[in-house]
Point group: C2
Chain length 512, copies 2
């Protein structure tokens, strides 16, 4: 911990600022290469500025660093120890940590209380008792530990080096991996992540309190399988949700899921209705999958907060437009008929045949015309180069006219731009699809109304691969990108509900 | 129409057996290249054995065929005419069809009743009146027409040439495209598809009746936006659902969606509750998206019918297993605790640390061991070559032992094998992932219990691309492959409900 951060920061802040890290159980043996990748290579790759110490009774060296035979052989102070040896040997190491004045121990190993076996529960209790003797805070066991990009503490080699606004506490290690990869593909970044596993010491309440106070965290996301102290959890959740938008994925909310949570992290999961009431009462946003959680985070962070449910859907395809409308209205949004004068305005420049100038608006003829314009304009440039140039100039004339009509629509709260890739009867070249969808992305970027873009109906591998460039450009342009209409609809509903209940929180989020 | 098919077949069967097809409106002009691709190139590519005639007032030739200046110039009988000229000119062509004894006219053009404009509604009525004078059956307008691979009538160039058991009637053209591409990626094929648009003559009732009687169709799928005659629809749906598993996606079931359906295909959509009651009453399976429809078709055609809801989930990852359980139980399946003696049997060969030997079963340690075995065994072969060889020999020893334990579990109805790609804390090479998931696919193939495989949690482009080979192999092996746990859960619930209500239908389907 640095004295700077200690002076003003939350009591837990020092766990993110170790001056030195020791990895106990580092090994060149094949199955243990994971330990090296997660807790040595990631630190080196992220440029961790503190001391890194490696420990294994066999000694030797790795990555140019000596491997000490024992923690006690380390020639300096150790703030943070990663304990990655089999569970039965961990109490001995914890005792050494205690004796050396270690501040934080992250226990990677599993095989403790989550097994449900009496001797394994006792082993975990023993570990905690030893840690308490030395005032050591324990992360885990049975977890991945800390990711803090600003502090140059990497975790998984493919995680990004740059930080963002989301603080994520996650009882599962695998869900950290999936959450980050899925969120990064949508342009999101994280302030700090703690994977805390069995929560034998540092638990969901500590972390909620921490993130509520953390100035680097603007939105809190939590994957929680259970809690030991319901009253404390309620208070911590209430404080977090009062401070910042807080999104919770409760793992193990069914009877079977609850048993699974007990088996995964030794959690007392609690009844679903209790959690539902609790989350509603404190004003947290509940989600039911990692995909839904990423969708609502995209909505919170990338969509200007809509004031109500009046929505217009603008996209390509008749059946796709009908189904988009169903998904949006089923989620609680409202697609009112288009006002007569705006319909007349659209008829000036969109052909009636093969279009739908109602709400939804199927703009297929317009999209085709603009697509050919783009194609003709491309010259020898690569598509992404052209689209970046055009971004500065704004949308094409047709799309600008369409946006102008939408912006005149009284009481319209939200525009959903969408393109269904595999609904086109003709398999189009990647370049032609880019020239159709690219202008839509620029229109979404320029639209003065709250809006989102949904690139959906991807039916096969070829389409997924050929649409990668477009999805990447949407993310690069800062657009709120969704990959299914149902996902977008669910997230927009949650966003609008949240904004109606807590307008000041989203205003603060978007001004920061 | 052939005299063979006419003698015994349904009165509508001749629409799938034209001796000749004329395409009116063929053109080398750029925007009209679609017409050529859909109605000339596709017929040639699929090897259509009848005569193909091309018509355009400008004359000329295309693909080695003469372009006649008028329908009347064609030197032979014309059974089927594709009318792909702008709507206002179509009555004149229909009159020529009438005078020449054409049997079926497919009107591709849009811009009729679906626009809601009085003169366009009248235009459609006029078209129908002229067709009636000549006893011409009309498909459309505003639709793609017919796909009949067995009869070598192609439609969209990337559609497969080989037929399958699904008969699909679809009021939207785009949804035909998306449905086929999405279904093909999961290994499904179609007997016949009719995209019927505004349904000015041939409508959903005619097609339901046809597919109910069609010996080439084993399962009926329908995307319907609306119906003019509720009583007749109910009767047709009842006959279809009595004859074969019938899956219906009602487009436009919300208020806004209903208005959209009117604007898309001029449909009177009807209240959602009416449709829900109707579909329940006749025993049809209702779905709410193309993805859900493909999922239930995979379940109906690829999963041995489970007798009840008792399910075991077997896969990789703790958090992933907890969330899988929630999704499965939320859909109405039941994950009961694993019987003690089976748990003991599993402990014999699966490490307790980093696993969950409950239900769900997290088999991470087993998967890793087998993965390394496969990797060592690979030699100079390509992975898919090895997996095809191993398919003949059956699953690896560890997986066979696991299957044997599951098969001893009294009352277990269904096994869900699953792998979450991006939940692994380590980004693994494609080859290593293949070696972990490949053996699971072989275990699913060998399992004597009803089962499905879910390859899910794909968070980014790289994972999607690198998992393509595995997904392709699962499809090639005939496995029921799902791409999300929610999708699998929804489909399994529908499958079990259907099997409990209509066991004889699924028995007939799987014996055919």
């Amino acid at each position: 911990m640095t004295s700077d951060s200690q002076s003003a920061a939350h009591p837990l802040d020092y766990i993110f600022h170790p001056r030195s890290v020791a990895v106990v159980g580092i090994s060149a043996d094949l199955p243990k290469i994971w330990i090296r990748r997660l807790y040595l290579d990631s630190l080196i790759q992220s440029g961790y500025p503190g001391q890194i110490y490696l420990v294994n009774p066999k000694g030797g060296e790795m990555a140019g660093l000596p491997i000490y035979r024992s923690l006690k052989d380390i020639p300096g102070e150790v703030d943070h120890v990663v304990i990655s040896i089999p569970a039965p040997y961990t109490p001995g190491i914890m005792a050494e940590c205690r004796d050396m004045g270690v501040k934080v121990a992250h226990v990677f190993a599993s095989g403790y209380a989550e097994t449900g076996e009496a001797e394994r529960i006792e082993l975990q209790d023993r570990l905690v008792a030893i840690a308490r003797q030395g005032n050591i805070r324990v992360i885990g066991p049975n977890c991945l530990g800390i990711y803090y990009p600003k502090g140059k503490i990497g975790l998984i080699p493919d995680f990004p080096a740059d930080p963002g606004p989301i603080g994520f506490l996650c009882q599962s290690g695998g869900n950290v991996a999936y959450m980050v990869r899925h969120a990064v593909a949508r342009g999101l970044r994280f302030s700090k992540i703690v994977s805390y596993g069995n929560a034998c010491d540092i638990n969901e309440c500590d972390l909620l309190d921490y993130f509520a106070a953390d100035p680097e965290t603007k939105v809190i996301a939590a994957y929680i399988e259970g809690a030991r102290d319901g009253r404390r959890l309620k208070e911590a959740l209430a404080r977090a949700a009062a401070a910042k938008p807080t999104v919770v994925l409760k793992g193990g909310y069914t009877a079977g899921g609850s048993r699974a949570a007990a088996s995964h992290t030794g959690s007392l999961a609690g009844a679903d209705a209790v959690w539902d009431g609790l989350l509603t009462q404190v004003g947290a946003i509940r989600t039911y999958s990692i995909e839904e959680m990423v969708d609502i985070l995209v909505a919170l962070l990338r969509v200007r907060p809509p004031r109500g449910f009046n929505t217009c859907a603008v996209g390509n395809g008749g059946g796709a437009s009908v189904m988009a409308t169903d998904e949006l209205e089923r989620a609680g949004l409202r697609l009112a008929p288009i006002p007569g004068e705006i319909r007349e305005g659209l008829k000036d420049f969109i052909d009636l045949a093969n279009s739908m100038l109602r709400n939804p608006i199927d703009i297929s003829p317009l999209a085709t015309v603009v697509g050919f314009e783009y194609l003709m304009d491309l010259g020898s440039r690569r598509f992404e180069e052209m689209l970046r140039e055009k971004l500065a100039k704004g949308p094409s004339v047709h799309w600008a006219r369409l946006n102008a009509q939408l912006q005149k629509w009284p009481g319209l709260d939200l525009v959903i731009y969408h393109h269904g890739f595999d609904v086109s009867p003709m398999p189009l070249s990647e370049l032609m699809v880019n020239c159709i969808v690219g202008p839509m992305a620029l229109a979404a970027k320029a639209c003065e109304l709250p809006n989102a873009i949904v690139l959906h109906s991807i039916g096969n591998d070829h389409t997924w691969q050929s649409s990668a460039e477009l999805r990447g450009l949407c993310v690069e342009f800062g657009l709120p990108l969704f990959l299914s209409m149902r996902g977008a609809a669910t997230a927009m509903r949650a966003l609008i509900d949240y904004n109606l209940a807590h307008p000041e929180k989203l205003a603060a989020l978007h001004s920061s």
